[in-house]
């Protein structure tokens, strides 16, 4: 059986600086896979390449067996790969509803879209209360909810979340992590990039530790959570 997403020897460079230096991993349908590591490890670069915003130097990306290399970003969404970018990037001067509608830009089923918008409001009630408000007026945590809700609007087969907990209060972070757990239990396949290794590993089926452009360690979430070197480097223990 082939995995939903297969990445093989992926290399990405900004000019002459190689940010991702040949990584391989895969994501099976229904799994939550996480990439952890410090700033500059190449996690965000990896996601931006998978969604087509960056062109890889070398390597292959296969999604449902199909090679994605060279496919423009707007066509990758259509194949079922949604990306909630680092820093949230909601459309600040559009309303919450309009942001969600944009998430469903490629869908034509108006009734289904309305139903999914309602589901986003059920998942994040605060968004429903403020649906007519410009998204730029939301707090950081609320913007993160909107970014996640928007990514789900394309009904993705794989949801990529980049640093969903970044810059959030501990309470808001818990809420976001709880939502990811909920999505997981509904069977959503997720590729999660996080700096908060503890939170990410405790809900992931599988994790990869990245350091300066390479995967240095892989294992199940629980294995990595209890790995001594991971505990020292990423979980703040001596």
């Amino acid at each position: 059986m082939t995995a939903l997403l297969e990445v093989e020897d992926l290399r990405v460079a900004y000019g002459k600086i190689e940010a991702v230096k040949g990584i391989s991993f895969s994501v099976e349908a229904g799994q939550v896979v996480t990439l952890i590591g410090t700033n500059g490890a190449g996690k965000t670069t990896t996601l931006r390449t998978l969604s087509g915003l960056l062109k890889p130097l070398a390597g292959t990306v296969r999604f449902e067996g199909e090679t994605l290399t060279g496919t423009p970003a707007h066509k990758i969404v259509k194949l079922g790969l949604a990306h909630s970018p680092e820093g949230r990037h909601i459309f600040p001067r559009l309303t919450i509803t309009e942001n969600l509608q944009l998430g469903a830009f490629l869908r034509k089923d108006a009734a289904g879209i309305d139903k999914d918008i309602q589901r986003a409001y059920d998942l994040f009630p605060i968004l429903g209360e403020r649906r007519g408000q410009a998204a730029g007026t939301l707090s950081g945590g609320e913007q993160q909810m909107l970014a996640m809700g928007r990514a789900l609007m394309s009904r993705p087969k794989l949801l990529m979340l980049d640093e969903p907990s970044m810059g959030l209060s501990p309470i808001m972070m818990q809420k976001i992590m709880h939502t990811i757990r909920e999505l997981k239990s509904n069977g959503t396949t997720i590729l999660l990039v996080e700096q908060n290794a503890q939170a990410a590993l405790s809900l992931a089926d599988c994790g990869h530790v990245m350091e300066i452009g390479k995967i240095v360690l892989s294992g199940t979430g629980q294995d990595l959570l209890h790995d001594e070197s991971v505990r020292k480097a990423y979980l703040g223990e001596d």
């Binding site: 969604s51 087509g52 915003l53 423009p72 970003a73 707007h74 066509k75 969404v77 259509k78 949604a82 990306h83 970018p85 820093g87 990037h89 459309f91 600040p92 001067r93 559009l94 309009e98 509608q101 944009l102 998430g103 830009f105 490629l106 730029g136 928007r150 990514a151 394309s154």
Partner: protein, 309 residues
């Protein structure tokens, strides 16, 4: 000559024309952050496109009947040139430093002027544009030429159409998304290349409409007409808040009114006599721009750029 209603009407006519052209600057800037300095020439070729259609029609065709076809010809010419400029001049430079497309725009502006000068028959001098022969409309102490009525009707219609398109349609919303955050727009499945072409095309179409209005008003088209009008329309776009389509129209009308009022009334201020009249109107237009930029740098309806975090 100095009655207020007449000056206001003149200002409004001029302003509507500025506004139509300003839309092109503001839409392109809003989407790709490029000041398309060739837009004045995209306006100019529209005038020649409309003239060409008129000359191709059988002699003696009533202007009223010819006008829709001329309009199509003007719009088509402007759109063709605008879209070609995007495709062949600006798109290859999309990842280049900002200065490169800017210089390209200035070069393209000169090239288009010279191309018309050299290759359009008899374009070395101004060419006569057809005009309505019938009487002007007179009401409320105002005289409005028949030709000017065209822009007073066309500009609001164009604006209304554009406003509805941008706010109500799926493509329009994709356009707003691309303006606010192009990379994220791609992640929504929006083909941003197509949106950019569309922004150029809409701006050019409005310039084509403005060119027909200009021809009807002045009775001529000439290869240099895009320079000063383009500069004024750019001023209008900045005045209204560049990137904002309603700002472009408002900036155009404010600028047009300011020019008309300055032409009519500055010379009546004691000691200012020599600064009044038509020859100083461009100076007053730019004085207004400087004042607005000092007091409100983002323009009348502009938003601060900081929210693009």
């Amino acid at each position: 000559m100095h009655e207020l209603p007449q000056q206001l009407a003149n200002g409004l006519i001029l302003g509507a024309m500025y506004g139509l052209i300003a839309i092109g600057y503001t839409m392109v800037y809003g989407i790709v952050q490029l000041i398309n300095f060739a837009h004045g020439e995209i306006f100019m070729v529209g005038g020649f496109g409309a003239l060409t259609v008129y000359l191709a029609l059988p002699g003696g065709t009533a202007l009223m009947l010819a006008l829709p076809l001329m309009l199509i010809g003007g719009i088509a010419t402007s759109v063709l040139v605008g879209v070609a400029a995007e495709r062949f001049a600006y798109r290859p430079l999309r990842e280049a430093p900002r200065l490169a497309p800017l210089i390209t725009a200035i070069g393209l502006s000169i090239a288009l002027q010279q191309a018309v000068w050299k290759w359009y028959p008899d374009a070395k001098k101004a060419r006569t544009f057809p005009q309505f022969k019938s009487d002007a409309y007179e009401f409320w102490n105002m005289t409005i030429q028949r030709g000017d009525l065209f822009v007073l009707i066309a500009a609001p219609l164009c604006m209304l159409g554009l406003g509805l398109f941008v706010s109500k349609t799926r493509t329009g919303r994709g356009m707003q998304a691309t303006a606010q955050d192009p990379d994220t727009a791609k992640l929504m499945g929006i083909n941003t290349d197509r949106i950019i072409v569309m922004a150029f095309a809409i701006g050019a179409a409005f310039a084509g409409v403005a060119a027909v209005a200009y021809g009807l008003r002045t009775g001529e088209v000439q290869f240099r007409m895009g320079f000063i009008l383009g500069l004024k329309a750019f001023t209008a776009a900045v005045l209204g808040g560049i990137g904002n389509i309603y700002g472009a129209m408002l900036g155009g009308v404010v600028l047009g009114l300011a020019e008309a009022l300055a032409t009519g009334y500055i010379e009546e201020i004691p000691g200012m006599t020599q600064f009044g009249g038509g020859s100083w109107k461009d100076v007053w237009a730019f004085v207004l721009l400087i004042l607005v930029l000092l007091l409100r740098p983002q323009g009348l309806l502009g938003e601060r750029v900081a929210d693009r975090a």
